[in-house]
Symmetry: D3
Amino acid sequence: MIFDRNISVFQSCDGEYKESDVVIFSVPMDATCSFRPGTRFAGPAIRTESIVMEWYSPYMEMDLKDYKTCDIGDLDIPVGDVEMDLDIISSITKDILNDNKKTMMIGGEHLVTYGTIREYVKKYPDLNIIHFDAHTDLRDEFLGRKLSHATVLKKCYEMLNGGSLYQFGIRSGDKSEFEWAKKHIFQQKFNTNGIDEVVKKLKDKPVYITIDLDVLDPSIFPGTGTPEAGGITFKELMDAILTMRGLNKIVGADMVELSPDYDPSHVSTQVACKVLRELVLLLHKNK
Amino acid sequence: MIFDRNISVFQSCDGEYKESDVVIFSVPMDATCSFRPGTRFAGPAIRTESIVMEWYSPYMEMDLKDYKTCDIGDLDIPVGDVEMDLDIISSITKDILNDNKKTMMIGGEHLVTYGTIREYVKKYPDLNIIHFDAHTDLRDEFLGRKLSHATVLKKCYEMLNGGSLYQFGIRSGDKSEFEWAKKHIFQQKFNTNGIDEVVKKLKDKPVYITIDLDVLDPSIFPGTGTPEAGGITFKELMDAILTMRGLNKIVGADMVELSPDYDPSHVSTQVACKVLRELVLLLHKNK
Amino acid sequence: MIFDRNISVFQSCDGEYKESDVVIFSVPMDATCSFRPGTRFAGPAIRTESIVMEWYSPYMEMDLKDYKTCDIGDLDIPVGDVEMDLDIISSITKDILNDNKKTMMIGGEHLVTYGTIREYVKKYPDLNIIHFDAHTDLRDEFLGRKLSHATVLKKCYEMLNGGSLYQFGIRSGDKSEFEWAKKHIFQQKFNTNGIDEVVKKLKDKPVYITIDLDVLDPSIFPGTGTPEAGGITFKELMDAILTMRGLNKIVGADMVELSPDYDPSHVSTQVACKVLRELVLLLHKNK
Amino acid sequence: MIFDRNISVFQSCDGEYKESDVVIFSVPMDATCSFRPGTRFAGPAIRTESIVMEWYSPYMEMDLKDYKTCDIGDLDIPVGDVEMDLDIISSITKDILNDNKKTMMIGGEHLVTYGTIREYVKKYPDLNIIHFDAHTDLRDEFLGRKLSHATVLKKCYEMLNGGSLYQFGIRSGDKSEFEWAKKHIFQQKFNTNGIDEVVKKLKDKPVYITIDLDVLDPSIFPGTGTPEAGGITFKELMDAILTMRGLNKIVGADMVELSPDYDPSHVSTQVACKVLRELVLLLHKNK
Amino acid sequence: MIFDRNISVFQSCDGEYKESDVVIFSVPMDATCSFRPGTRFAGPAIRTESIVMEWYSPYMEMDLKDYKTCDIGDLDIPVGDVEMDLDIISSITKDILNDNKKTMMIGGEHLVTYGTIREYVKKYPDLNIIHFDAHTDLRDEFLGRKLSHATVLKKCYEMLNGGSLYQFGIRSGDKSEFEWAKKHIFQQKFNTNGIDEVVKKLKDKPVYITIDLDVLDPSIFPGTGTPEAGGITFKELMDAILTMRGLNKIVGADMVELSPDYDPSHVSTQVACKVLRELVLLLHKNK
Amino acid sequence: MIFDRNISVFQSCDGEYKESDVVIFSVPMDATCSFRPGTRFAGPAIRTESIVMEWYSPYMEMDLKDYKTCDIGDLDIPVGDVEMDLDIISSITKDILNDNKKTMMIGGEHLVTYGTIREYVKKYPDLNIIHFDAHTDLRDEFLGRKLSHATVLKKCYEMLNGGSLYQFGIRSGDKSEFEWAKKHIFQQKFNTNGIDEVVKKLKDKPVYITIDLDVLDPSIFPGTGTPEAGGITFKELMDAILTMRGLNKIVGADMVELSPDYDPSHVSTQVACKVLRELVLLLHKNK
C-alpha cells in the first residue's frame, strides 16, 4: 500500500498544474500593515475551513468540480523584507502568465497586488483595475514608505497605460486622496452603484479585479486589520460579482486582508471562502 | 421556611404543565453535524440568557406573561445514538399532542425535526411544513447516513400526505438538491419573498414551522455550526413571522442550530431568545 | 532634552482646554446596569483604538484637525455610589457650560445622561432631547431604584420645560412604557423614520443628542450590555446624524453603552470611534 | 402524562429542602467591584456546566450522590442597591441556620460574605474565619464606601468575638493593610503554609470558610474580576481543603468571584465546580 | 514551470511513505464525546500551527529533520457512524503495520485508540499499554454505548493477552472504575509517580503509548472537551516521555482530545505540537 | 476652571521627566516577528490595565508612590522600517542616558533591545546582559535578515566588551544555537537555576536586564507571539527578580513580547504590569 503526503487545497481546487486554467496561491505577508496584523494567516485558514463549503454555487449556478483549478499554497517568502516579497510574487505571476493561466491570489495585505500588477501590465499594457475597498489606498507615501498597503493602488495606477482604476465602496482616507480621486479616476464612495456602467465600458478590455475584503461591512467581516463601519453587505458584493460576468476579459484577480485570528466565530473566513469560490468560477466562466 | 429547588425556564414560561397550551423542550443532540458541533448546548444557554429579554413583544404587541407556557427543559438523551434520540423525541411529542398541547422544540441539530414530524403527521395527515434555512437539507443520504441534518427535510417531506414543504432563504446545497426542489416543492432562494402567497394558500391548513436559525445572515447569527453568508436579516425573519399570523392552524414549531459557544459576544443566543419569544406568542395567538 | 508624560486623547482631539469649543470626557460608571456590565471601560478603549481611524470624514467632508477639541479623559468617580457619580458629572458639566463650551460625554451606562441634563436644563430651560436607543428607558423605577439606566429618559423628560423628548429606534421595553410614550412623547419604533420632520420642528431650538449605541443592530455593535436584535444599521444612524446638520442649536451630546470587552473583534469600539468623530464634527459645525 | 418544569441544580444536589443538611444558594451581586464586573453570572454558569463533572471525588473518596443537598438557586436581589442585597442574604442565611442546616453560598463579589457572617456570629459568637484570597480585603473604606469587596474581611473581623481571622495566599493590597494584618491576625502571604497549625488550633471551634477563587493563580483561574499572578495552584488549594477535614465544626462556607465571561475556555467555571464539589462534601463530612 | 499542489504536513514530517519509519495520520472523529465536541479539528490545526515550532528538541537533543516521517493527513471518515470510523482506522493501521512502520495517530476523541489497538494486538499479542489521562475511561458502557470515549481503555484492556494497562494522571471517574482499577491494573492517581518502575518492568516488552492530552492541567491545556483541574504540568509530561526512552520496544503511539476551537490563545495547539514532536522522536529513537 | 488633556501613564508613574530617575517608554514595533504579530499594542494595554494593580509590592516591600518615574508613552515610529525604528530607539536612549536616568523599555518585539544596547555599551563599555527568554535569539541571520527578533541577542553580544551574556529559561532554538551557546556564554536551559551565582559574579558590574515575557509558561502568559510550553512559573520569575536585588549596578531594563490581543482573559497584560512594577522598583532600589 502507498499513501500520499497530505494535500491541502481550497475546496475542489485539486487540479494538477498543467491541466488547470486558474492557479491559486496565497501570500503570507503583512509587513506594512499599520494597525492589526495577521493577514499572513489567511491562506491556510481558507484552505482548512473551505472543507465545509459546498462546491456548487447557487448564485452562478456553476460547480467548482466542473473546472480545473490548481492551488499551489502559500508562497515561501522572507518575513519583513518587503522588496524581496514583492519580487517573489512577480516572479510567480510571470511564470503562471507565461503558461497562459490566470492567477487567483490570496493576501496577505493589499500591497501584494503591486507584485502581480507589475507583471500583468507587461502582458496586458491596456489593463484596467476594478477595485473594491473601504480605503482609498491612494497615498503617495505612508509613514515614510512609498510601497505600502496605503499607497498600493496609486502605485498600480501609475503603471497603467490607457487603462484606468475603478474604485467601489470607498469610505476612509485622507482628504487629499479623495480630492485626487475626483480628478483622476472613477471612485464610488460607500457603495457599488455604477458597477453596471463600468462593466459595459470595459466589456472587451482586459480587467484585473482586486477585492479588499474590508469593503464589506464589519458586521459580516470583522476579521480584518482595519475594520470600517458603513461597508457594503455580502449581497451587494455578490451582486457586483455577478454583474462582472458581463466582462469578457477578466485576466486575473486577488482577494486580500482576511485576518482570521480577529474573528473567533470564524465567519470572516467562511465569507472569504465563498467570495473565493465565486471569483474562481468567474475566472473560469470568462475564459 | 421551605425553599424550592432552583427552577430554570425560558423567560416567563413558568406555567405548570397541566394549565399550559404550549410546551417547550430542548434536545441536546448534534451527532450528525458535519462541521462545527455544539448545538447541544443551546437549551440551557437560551434559558439562562433569556432573563435579560423583555416579556413584552413590541412586534406582536403581546406579552408572554399573559399566556401559559410550560418549559420542561432538556430531554435526557444518550449521546451518539441517533435512533434512540429520535425515538425519545417522538415519544415526548406524542405525549404532548395527546394532551392537546403544542410543542415548541429547541434544537440541537436539525435532524430533531424528523422526530417530531413523525408524530405530527399521525395527528395531522395533511400537515404542511414551512421551513426557513440556509441549506436545502434535501439530500437522500449524507456521508452514508439516511437520517442526517442534511437529509432531514427530504425525509420529512416523504412522510407528508397531501401537504407539502415550503422553503425560504435557501442558499447552500448540492446542485441535484436544487434541481429536485424545482420539480417537487416551493423553494425560495436567498430571501423570504412569496411568504404572503404561501400563507394565503395554507390559511386553514395545519402548518408546522421549522426555523433553522442559520437562515439568518452570520453577521447577526454567527453562533451556528455552518454559517452561510448572504442570509436574511433579523427584520426579514421577523416580518415573515408576523406574516404567518395569517395562518389559522399552526400546530407546532421548532427552532434549531444555535451553537452558543461559537459566539463569544452571546448575540446569537439573544437572537434565538427573541425568535423564540415570537414563536411562542405565535403559537398562543393561533390557538 | 525634556520629554512629556504620555498624553492619550481621542484621535486629533488634543486641543488645550482654553482654546477648545468642544470638551470630551468619559464616565467609567455602570453601577445600575441590569445585565452585562463593563461600559466603564469604554473611554480608554475609544482613546486607544481611535489611533487607526482617519481624522477626515467623507460623510461630513470635514476634518477633525481643522477644529479645536479638548479631551480631558475619564472622570474620577467612586465605584458603586450612584448619587456621588451623578454629582461629579453635573459639576463638570456646569464648569464646561460656564466656559461656554459644549460637552461631548462618553458613557458608561445611560444613567450618566441624567447628570448632564440636570445642568443643561438650567442653562437652556427650553431644551429638547433627541434620543437614539433600543430601549425605552422610560420606567418610573427599576428594581427598586428611581435613578437607573432603565428610567433615565423618563427622569430627564420630567426636568424639561417646554421642550420634549424624541425617541428613535426603540424596540424593547415594558408594555406600560410604550403606552406612556404614545400619550406623551414622539417615539419612533424600530427605525429612524421621521427624523427629518423632527429636525425641521426643532430647527432653532436648543437640542441635546443622546445616542445609546445599542440602537444599532448587534450585528454591527455586539459590544454592549443588552444587545437587542432588530436594530438600525450603521448607515441609518449615519444618515440620521447627517440629517441633524439641519439643527441650528445643538448644545451638547453624549454616546453611551459601549462595553468593549464583549467584542473580541474590537469592531464595536471602531464603530463607537466613528460615531464619536461625526458627533464631534456635528457639534463644531453647529457652533 | 405530567411533565415538570425544568429544574437546574448543581451536579447531584437535587435534594428537597427539608431533607437536606447543606443548602446551596448563589448571589448575583457585583455592585462594588472595582475592576471587571460579571461575577453576577457565576451561579447559573456553575449549575449549567456542572453537568460534565463526576459526582465522585477521588480526593475525598466521597460521592455527592450519597448526601442530601438542596440548591435553591440565585437569590432575587435588586441590582445596585448594596444594603438591600446584604439584607436579603442575611435573611436567607438566618432562615437556613434556624432550620439547622449549613449554607454553601456562591458569589458574586466578596462582599456577600458580610451578609452571611452577620448571621453566623449571632448563632456562633466564637466564630472563626478561614479565608483564602489574593487580596487582603482589609481596608477600612474603599473609594468612599465602608462596605465593599475591598473592606469585607475587615468588617467581618470586627464582628467576631473571641474567634479570629486566618488568611492564606494573600499577595495584593495596600501597605497599611499588610501592616495591620501583621499586628492583629494570622496572615500567610503567597501560599497556604501553616494551614496544618491553624487547623489544629481551631479543631473544635466553629469555623466558617470563605474562598475567593482569585487565590488561585490566573493560569488556572483567569475568569475573575481582578486576576493576580503568583497565586496558588489548584493542587495547593485542594491540599488545603483536604487538610481542613481535621476541623470538627465547619459551620458554613462560601466561594466567590468567578466571572465566567472572562474565560472563553470555560476552564474557570470547571475549576469552580470542582472546588464547590469538595466544599459541599467537606460540609457534609463534618456534620 | 511546474508547480505542485499544496502539501500540508506536520513540521518537517514530509517524508515519502516508502522511505518513512513512522507514519502520522489524524482522525476527525468526536461522535461519542459527552461534553464539548470539536476534537475533529485537531489534525489540520496541528499541521498549520506546527510551522512556528522548531524542528530541534532540546529535551531529546534530536532533530526531526534527521528522520523520515510521512504525514498522510486526516482519514476520510463518515461523520456519526462510529463502527465504520473504527473499521477505517483499523484498516489503515493494518496496512501500515504490514509495511513494518509505526503509527503515530492524532485524535479526535479517545475512542480512536480502540481502532488501532485492535490491530496492534494481532501483531503484538503480548502488547502493553501506557496510558496518560485525566479520566479512567474504564466504564463497561456509557450512556448506553459499549464503545465510547469513556469505555475505551476497558475495551482495549480486554483485548490484551499477557500484557497489561498502566495508567497515569487519573483524577476523574466513577467510584466503581477506581475500585476496578485497584484490583486489575496499575493506576497512578493525580501524577506520574512510578513511571520509572513501569519502564523498567516493560523494558523489552512491546509497548503502545496513548496520551489523552487532558492529562495536562487545564492551565496549560484548556483546549479540550472535558478539562479537569488538578492535572500534571507540561514538565511532568515531558519528564515522563523522556523516561520512556528506557523502553526498547515502543511499537506505536497516539495523542488525542485536542479541541482547538476552545482555546482562543492557540496555546493548546502549540502544546500538542510539542508533545507530538517528542513522540515522533521517541518512536524513531526506539527503532 | 482649567482642565488638562488626558494623561495616561503606567500605575503611579506620573513623575515629571526632570525629577524622575527612571523613564518608561514603549515601542510599538513588531516588523520582524515570524509568527503571530501584535506586540505593537503592548504599551497602551499596559497603561490602561495597570489601573487595577496595587502600587505597593508585597514582594519588594516597596511602593511605586515613593519613587519618581516618568512614563513618556509610545515612541512615534514608522511601521515596517526596521532601521529607522532602531535609530529612534537609540536616539531616545542616548538622551535619557545623557540625563543620567535609567531606561525602562517596553516592547514590541525583542529586536528593540538592539536599539538600546547600542547606546548602553557606549556609556558602559563593560556592560553585561542578563536575559530571560524561551528562545535562544542567537541566530546569525533569520529569514535573510541580520537584525531580527531571532538574532537580537547574538548581535547584542557582539557589541559587548569584556562583559557577557547570561541566559535563563531557554527552551527553543536551532541546534547550532545551543551548540554556540555552550561554547561562548552562560546558558541555563528550561529554568532559572544558577541565577544566584551569576548575581554574585556580576555584583558590582554594570548589568542590563532584558526579559522576554515568553520565558514564562504559556499557562500564565498566553498573550505572546510564539508561546512555548515548558516555561518558568510566575513565582520563579519573581524569585529571579528578587535575587537580582543583589546586583549593585543595574543600569537599565526592558520587557518585551506581550501581544495583548492573543489573550482574551487579559491575564497576560496583568502579568506584564506586575513584572513591570517589580522592574521599576528594582531600578529605583538600585540607584
